[in-house]
């Protein structure tokens, strides 16, 4: 069996104020896995994704990503481009004035040249059927377009894992269908947070439920 992409062991986490969010969570993500992460509102699903890429630090337990334990900020700097996190609110993700600049932001941070970045922008937009969006102003896009462009900014870094936080939330039927088609065609392993049953059945083959700070299969 191949080396897991992510392995979380005995994670404990609580925000400053009180109630523990995770208390002994175990989880393993392998190549090709498409996992649905479910659970009640406010149970800590988003928190779990943020812990995986080091935006939050667990109080106890271990995060292992791409074959190595990750503890300090500098360990996670390497993890983040390889595990693309799609945020719930695309307005949080798209901060550059134009679509091109936003998609270019990740690759440029990874030290790619302008020429290379330009190719990546074109290629990513084309792969999502967003040709001609290069010079659109991000805050003037519709909600659906914003979500797709946000996905483009993540895919532009060529991640090995996708962490999707409610990707179909607040999308119209047409855009939702388009997003499902796109995601279904992607080769990456995925963890998907969603309350959209139909979407989860079509995209994922494994269910994990977060309850009382622990992760339960099935």
């Amino acid at each position: 069996m191949s080396e897991p992409l992510f392995r979380l062991s005995d994670l404990h986490f609580a925000y400053d104020s009180g109630q523990p969010v995770l208390s002994g969570a175990h989880f393993t993500l392998r190549t090709g896995d498409r996992v649905a992460l479910t659970g009640a509102n406010g149970v800590g699903k988003t928190t779990l994704l943020h812990l995986m890429v080091g935006l939050l630090k667990a109080q106890a337990g271990q995060v292992e990503a791409f074959g190595r334990p990750r503890i300090h900020e500098k360990d996670f700097v390497e993890v983040r481009p390889r595990a693309g996190l799609l945020f719930q609110d695309s307005d949080d993700q798209l901060f550059c004035p134009t679509v091109t600049e936003d998609i270019a932001f990740g690759p440029l941070n990874l030290g790619k040249s302008w020429a290379e970045t330009r190719m990546i922008v074109q290629r990513t937009l084309a792969s999502l059927g967003l040709e001609g969006f290069e010079n659109r102003v991000t805050h003037k896009l519709s909600g659906g377009q914003r979500r797709l462009v946000a996905l483009a900014t993540v895919l532009a870094m060529n991640p090995e894992v996708l962490l999707l936080d409610e990707p179909t939330n607040a999308l119209d039927a047409e855009t939702r269908e388009r997003l499902i088609q796109i995601l279904d065609g992607l080769p990456q392993a995925m963890i998907v947070i969603s309350h959209d049953e139909d979407f989860l059945t079509r995209i994922t083959q494994r269910r994990v439920r977060l309850e009382q700070g622990r992760l339960m299969e099935g």
Binding site: H50, R80, P97, N109, A115, M119, A126, S127, H139, A189
Partner: protein, 283 residues
Amino acid sequence: MNTSASSSAMHSLAKVSHPHASITIYLPLKKGDREGFRASEPLLKTVDARLRLAACGLFALIVVGLTQIPALLTALALAGCAALAARLERAPTLRRLAALDGFMLFVLFFLPFTVPGETVFSMNGMTASYEGVLRAVEILLKANAVVLIILALLGSLGSVELGHAMARLRLPGKFVHLFLFTVRYIEVLYREYRRLRTAMKARGFRLRCDLHTWRSVGYLFGMLLVRGIERAERILAAMRCRGFQGHFYPMTEAEPVGQRDYAFAGLSVAAVCALIVLECLHS
């Protein structure tokens, strides 16, 4: 192996990409997007944004330092010429200037009474001085000239173009990004404000002059502030997820400066020199 699988999937989609596709930032002009500007392209609008910004800054800097009325009148006339060249629409431009002047008159009202000097007239026992009136006129002329030149040179620039021009002029990065982030998120914050405000209205809230109103409005702005901070944290998190480590990379390449731009730069410098000469002649 997952990497290679995913990258090959990406490469198979690369057919439409063009290696020499140039990235120039151009904002499509939408109707109503830039109110007050006509659709046909005036010559001034084709001048490089960097030069327009630099000329604007230089002009403002010099005008603020002028003290002689003839020089100031000339400055205002020059700004007026620029406005004509930019083909600003008369009504909206005058409306903007009127708004400025209304404010300025209010601010300058007491100036003649507080500056000592030769008496011109008196009102309710207060005497207005000639020097004070002169000072007020001077300030009024300066303000109008500067605002008019800004409208003429920068008014037709989109906020994004302006941000890029600032970056290319090597203004401090923090300043440029503060500007661009403001442009990007002011609408998001405004939407949030509208949502909260509508929700308040839906529960029968009206602005009155009582403690309840003040407290509720306080909560409203407090909530906006809290949400603003939370959003800023999420944005930074999203940026870190894409490899941000505190340094921005240049986002676009500048277009080369052309003949027209040199002509514009020459004219600007000449105009500013003329103002300085006028100032020296009259002082």
